[in-house]
């Protein structure tokens, strides 16, 4: 046991000396390898954390939202619809929701204006998200002027600011009273943006949705499961799109690694010949190349994984920020809750460590089985 361990330690010593003899080549390979692992791992951590957050938070979303479609577009829904929907068997509550968008021409940002179902702010007051407060440069007690639908200024007092920890759901929110909302948008009487429906038995949701469409052909019910699938789909798409881009980078790395690993240099071939001629067995030479591959790929995997974790969970995935921000003026800054899926780590390990390590052995085996004299002369 000790003999075998010592043998491997000696081989590792020799492998490290061999790698250090070609410092530039091997350090650049390690840097590139680490970078690719870092980018892929960052993407996996980021998408997984966002998906998890969406699933946990939207579990508290309304069971169903009923919109009204007019000329193929979302239109205001008469509150009278709520009464008939409420009378359907299985429906617990129907709450008209008042919400809309406000484009601030001064700061160029879009805000979401919402009226809470239970009054929480007095007319003339608002609660704002942390990013709205940052964007508008206002703090608690300050007055904010909005332009109403009639282009008349509406002055509102900031009564509270949601903490930055709520950014993931409330960064761009402005919570106001129904009266102020009416003053802002001049909605037709007895109309709401849409209806939030609660159903006692979740298994009846699809049946209730069908009944709603039968009663109101212009209604469009959106189930909670569909909201959750929206986020699954978006993150898959974004993750998928980035994986497509990254796959090109990975493929070029594979070609690079394959080229380096399969085409042994004359120096390496001569080295193998000398080792064989002084008594190294073929197995020893293969172990040597195996350890060289492991040193590079395992180090890159560990370093890349650690750097990716720091990037996503300590630095809020700042390298992805520009891609995600797009043309938005108001960008919600949020810190993701650290979560690592061991399945993703295992996939990353098998995709990055194994191919490179295997690729280093094949040419070494070909060279090690050749005649040492021929190898030294080549």
């Amino acid at each position: 046991m000790n003999t075998s361990l010592n043998r491997h330690r000696n081989i590792i010593d020799f492998a490290l000396s061999s790698l250090l003899r070609r410092k530039m080549k091997n350090f650049s390979l390690l840097a590139l390898y680490t970078l690719i692992v870092f980018v892929i791992a960052s993407l996996l951590f980021f998408v997984h954390a966002l998906k998890r957050e969406a699933t946990l938070l939207l579990a508290d979303a309304p069971d169903m939202v009923v919109q009204r479609l007019m000329a193929g577009r979302h239109d205001l829904i008469p509150v009278a619809y709520a009464e008939k929907i409420r009378s359907l068997p299985g429906v617990s509550t129907v709450t008209p929701r008042l919400w809309g968008y406000y484009y601030d021409p001064v700061f160029g940002a879009n805000y979401t204006l919402t009226v809470p179902p239970k009054p929480t702010v007095e007319p003339g007051n608002i609660l704002v998200g942390a990013e709205v407060s940052r964007n508008q440069r206002v703090s608690e007690g300050d007055m904010v002027a909005f332009r109403t639908a009639a282009h008349v200024p509406l002055l509102l007092t900031v009564k509270g600011i949601y903490p930055a920890a709520s950014n993931l759901v409330a960064a761009d929110l402005i919570i106001m009273s129904a009266e102020d909302f009416q003053a802002m948008f001049d909605l037709p009487k007895a109309h709401a943006t849409d209806l939030a429906v609660t159903v006692a038995n979740p298994r009846e949701l699809a049946t209730v949705a069908t009944k709603i469409v039968e009663a109101f052909p212009d209604a469009r019910p959106i189930l909670k499961s569909e909201m959750l699938r929206t986020y699954d789909s978006i993150f898959d798409w974004r993750g998928g799109m980035m994986v497509v881009i990254l796959s090109a980078a990975v493929l070029s790395f594979v070609i690079f690694a394959w080229d380096k690993a399969t085409g042994l240099s004359a120096e390496e071939r001569r080295e193998i010949g000398i080792l064989k001629s002084i008594g190294w067995e073929t197995a020893d030479v293969l172990y040597l190349k195996l350890w060289e591959g492991i040193v590079i790929s395992l180090s890159a995997f560990l370093l890349g994984g650690l750097l990716a974790y720091g990037h996503v969970f300590f630095f809020s995935a700042s390298l992805f920020e520009h891609a995600l921000k797009g043309w938005a003026v108001l960008y919600p800054r949020f810190k993701l809750v650290p979560t690592v899926d061991s399945y993703h780590l295992a996939v990353l390990f098998f995709l990055t460590v194994l191919p490179y390590t295997t690729a280093t052995i094949v040419p070494a085996w070909l060279a090690a089985t050749a005649d040492p004299d021929a190898a030294m002369r080549s």
């Binding site: 330690r9 590792i12 010593d13 490290l16 966002l50 957050e53 946990l56 938070l57 939207l58 508290d60 979303a61 309304p62 939202v65 919109q67 479609l69 193929g72 709450t95 929701r97 021409p105 160029g108 940002a109 879009n110 919402t114 809470p116 179902p117 929480t120 998200g129 903490p163 920890a165 709520s166 993931l168 759901v169 409330a170 960064a171 761009d172 849409d194 959106i222 569909e226 909201m227 699938r229 929206t230 986020y231 699954d232 789909s233 978006i234 395992l298 560990l302 994984g305 650690l306 969970f313 797009g326 043309w327 938005a328 003026v329 960008y331 919600p332 809750v337 650290p338 690592v340 061991s342």
Partner: protein, 96 residues
Amino acid sequence: MRKSDLFFLFTACNGVLFALMLLHGHHGQAAAHVERRERARLVRELMLTDLCLFTEARYTRHPAMADLHSAFQDHPFSLEHFPSGSLLSPPPLPAR
């Protein structure tokens, strides 16, 4: 110190950091419980349907509530599939 020992030490340190990373992830879930509960309360009380991730356009701010027949909007979980989506550039920002 032998080179192999240095390598083992380096790998062991990274391995420990990796294990700490997994532990930190596990601990982070527990520590974030209060903040997450607060976010969930907002979702419940304000009857929110979407996360605030992208505020560029209506259909990116509220993808689950988006109109039909535009990006993401054939149905709530559909994707942008019109070729024009990759050709049309966004309108210029209004002059401040």
